[in-house]
Structure formats: structure tokens, C-alpha cells
């Protein structure tokens, strides 16, 4: 996921991304950013809210609720004063091409 440096909320989004690098997929043991699960981040500065759009590798993933909770906690720990919300989306459908180069290395691919 890329964030445009001209984005007015670039700094906040970068901090959120940094936080999400700390959230690990328990099965694959790599973080959810390198796994390509995080699609977008929105910032509402007035309401001090960060919204994350992310997906899961499969809809029936039993770990889904745990991963989204960890994503929310990670952002709120990093961005004091902000509330975080995580929305699960299913379009576009996640596929293995979403995995970053770092993720592929971590997976030994």
C-alpha cells in the first residue's frame, strides 16, 4: 500500500502504517501490511478518527476478528488521541500477488 507524500494526512497515515506493521498474521507469521491485507487508510482529523480498510485471505478466516481487533489496538497505541476503526472489505478479493517483496522474502518464496 502506497501513501502519497502530498497527502495532507501523510504523517498520520505513515504512523498508522507503522503500527500495522506490528500486527502479524498468526498463520503465515508476517505482518498484515506486507501480506497485502491493508487496502486503504482514511483520516478524519476533526473527529480524530483513523479508519482502515482491510481484507482477509479468506472470508471464513477464524482469526479475522482477532486480526482486526489487533489492528485497531495497534493504531490506537501508536496514535494517541485518535480512535481507530477497522472495516473488512471483500473487493478487490485478496490474492497472493498482493504480498510485498519483503513479505515474499519473509515467507521464503
Amino acid at each position: 500500500m502506497n501513501i502519497d507524500i502530498t497527502d495532507p494526512y501523510y504523517a498520520v497515515k505513515m504512523k498508522a502504517i507503522q503500527a500495522l506493521y506490528g500486527v502479524t498474521d498468526p498463520e503465515l507469521n508476517i505482518n498484515i501490511v506486507d501480506l497485502g491485507l491493508v487496502y486503504d487508510i482514511h483520516v478524519n482529523e476533526e473527529q480524530k478518527q483513523v479508519s482502515v480498510e482491510m481484507t482477509l485471505s479468506t472470508k471464513s478466516c477464524p482469526l479475522g476478528n482477532i486480526i482486526t481487533n489487533h489492528a485497531r489496538v495497534a493504531i490506537e497505541d501508536e496514535l494517541h488521541g485518535y480512535d481507530a476503526e477497522v472495516e473488512l472489505v471483500w473487493e478487490p478479493k485478496w490474492n497472493y500477488d498482493n504480498i510485498s517483496a519483503e513479505g515474499r522474502t519473509a515467507l521464503g518464496l
Binding site: S60, G64, L107
Partner: protein, 420 residues
Amino acid sequence: MKPPDEHISRIATVVPYYILAAVSFVIFQALLIVSLPEIHLHYFQPKLLALTHLFVLGWGTMTIFGAANQLVPVIAETRLYSSVLPVLNWILLTIGIPLLIWSFWVFQLTWITYTGASLIIIAIILHAFNIYKSISAGKSNIITDILLMAHAWLFITGSIGLLLLINLISPLFPEEHLHYLKIHAPVGMAGWFLQLIIGVSARLVPMFILSRKENTKLLNVTFYTLNTGLALFLIEGMIFHSFHGRYVYLLLVITGLTAYAAYIQGCYKSALRKQKDAGMRQTFVAIGFILVALVLFFIVICMGAGVPPYITTMFGLAFFCGLVTIIIMGQTFKTLPFIIWMHITKPNSLPELMPKDLFNETWVNIQLWFYLPGLLLLLIGLACNLTITLHTGAILMLIAAIIYTVHVLYVTGKLKTKLL
């Protein structure tokens, strides 16, 4: 503990099954050593009957019931229909299995035997009902069809088993007892165990190795050919009291297995993660035992009534100890640590430990280092009638079973420590 997600089954529906199965596994391996002097005899004798049922019910089916309670909601994208029924079933099986096994061991068919068998049948019906209701409320696909059909065959196998028990004291069947035993065993092996392994692995293997492509049409071929072969075998055996079409039925089953092998090969070819961990390595070793079991089975049906009993026993060992046990031993540590982790991780803080930290991969390797040579020695000892080889093999397998059980208790013990 309340599960944080609808796809996570309650801990009581899964973990007690794994624990009791592991204990049964150790008892089975210990009793196998005790029974070695009789292992060359015909399989229809008290100790081998007791051992076989301890294996298939106490070890194999117990583990599969626990795993199914966790995996079916994931596969069908639904929730488990009832969380009470698995607890009740576990109690029924925990009482029923020892009663049946003891009766076989001492070969005294009394009310204890029939109480045990009835409790087991009730548990099977209730479990199958729970799985059926769970899948009905979720998304149907070829894998859920395979799982449902496997449960149907389990019910058929159990029912024939109960009728056979009754037949021993009050004849029900027109043909001799052994004729129906030849139906009871293959139907349970291929219909229940093999089909369930196919269904679950068809979902888990591509997930674990990150396959890009899954040709589920091949699973359709497996589903229809395997079940047609078994259904024809059952009908001819039960209604016409013969096995004239046995080569055709075997061919249908082999076609189904070939399609399954092609499916797994396709998954592996398109996999991103070709390096296999200990659990996956053991799964592939186990799948290889299907071939060994098939060759031995082919010899058994070719030789017919003249087959030496030890070859039939070798076939049983290759199927149950080779395929079923090794796949369970490997997949336990691909699933159980996750199940435990899901229940102990706190949703409102980041975990310090991950599922991979809840078990020891080296132990998973070591259990196979003992088990596989042990099983091979047992098979060689049986084929060549070598007592020392038989004993050495059985002892190595017992050590592996103890390592496995201690490891399972170590993983499940994390529930108490609440490390996360």
C-alpha cells in the same frame, strides 16, 4: 471462554477430544506390544478386535470429531450448530469406548458391550446431525459434500458394527459373520477415514502451502467415483451376499484417489510456499501410505480366502498407522496451537506470543523419527515373522505416541497459563 468470532468453536467442543484421543493413542501402542504374540493370527480374534476399535474410535474418530467441530464452521463459513452436543458426545464416547474395548479384550459379550456400542452409535448420530445442521446453514461446496458423505458412511459403518455385535448372540444375517465384517471394515476405512482425510486436506493443504490454483473439478470426480464404488460394494455385499464386482469397485475407488492425487499435485505445483514445515512433511508422508495400503489391499482381494492373515493385518497397519496416524500426528500441530491461541489471545492488546510459539517444531520432527522407522520395522517384522523386529518397532511407536501426547498436553496446558 467465549470465542471472539462466530467461526471459532468453543474450547469444550474441541480440546477434550484431542486430549482423550492422545491418551487412547498411547494405550493403543502399549496394548499393541502386549498383543504382539497374537498379531500373526486371524484378525477376528479378541485382542485385535479390541485394538482395532480402540484405534478407530478412541484415537482416529475422537481426533476427527474434535477437529471437525473446529474446521467445519471454517470450511462452510458458518457457526457450529450446537456447542452442547459435542460435549454430550464426548461424554458418551468416553463412557462407551472403554466399555466396548474391554468387552472385546476379554471377549465377553454382555449388557456392558451393548451399552458401550449403543452409546457410541448415539454419539455418532448426534455428531453427524450437528455437522449436517452446521453445513446446511453455511455455504455448500464439494468439500462440504465430501465431509457430509464421510459422516453418512460413519453412520453406516457404526450401524453394521452394532448389528454384527447383535449377530454374535442372536443371528440376524443369512451369511457367516466374517462376510459382514469384510463390509464393515472397508466401508469404515474408505467411506469414513479416507473420505474425511480427503475432504479436510483438500481445504487445508492449499491453504497451508499458499496454492494459487485449486482444481475442484477433480474433487467432484473423487466424490462420485469413490462413493459409487463404495455404494455398489455395500449393496452387493449386503443384498446379494457376494463381492463379484470387487475389481470394478476397487477401480472406481482408485480413480477417485487418482483424481485426489492430481488435485494435491496441482495445488503443490501452483503453491507459493513449496518449503514444507514438519506438519506438512508428515502429511505428505501419510498420503504416500495410501499407495502402500492400496497395494496390500489389492493383494488381499486377489488372494481372496487364501490370503495369509498377516497380509490383511499389514494392510490394516499401513492404512491406520501409516495413513491415519501420521496425518493426525502432523496436522495436530498445524491446527491445535491455533485453536488454543484463538482462545487465549486477548482482543484488546497485541500478543507477545504467536501460535508457532505454543508448540515445538523439533518435537514434531522427533515424533516422526521414532514413529516411521517403528512402523516400518513392525511391517517388516510381520512380513518376515521376526519377533525382535516386531518388538523394536512397536516400542519405537510407543515412544512416538508418548512424545505426541506429552506435546498435546503441553500445548493444551497453555489454556491455563494464559501467557498472552
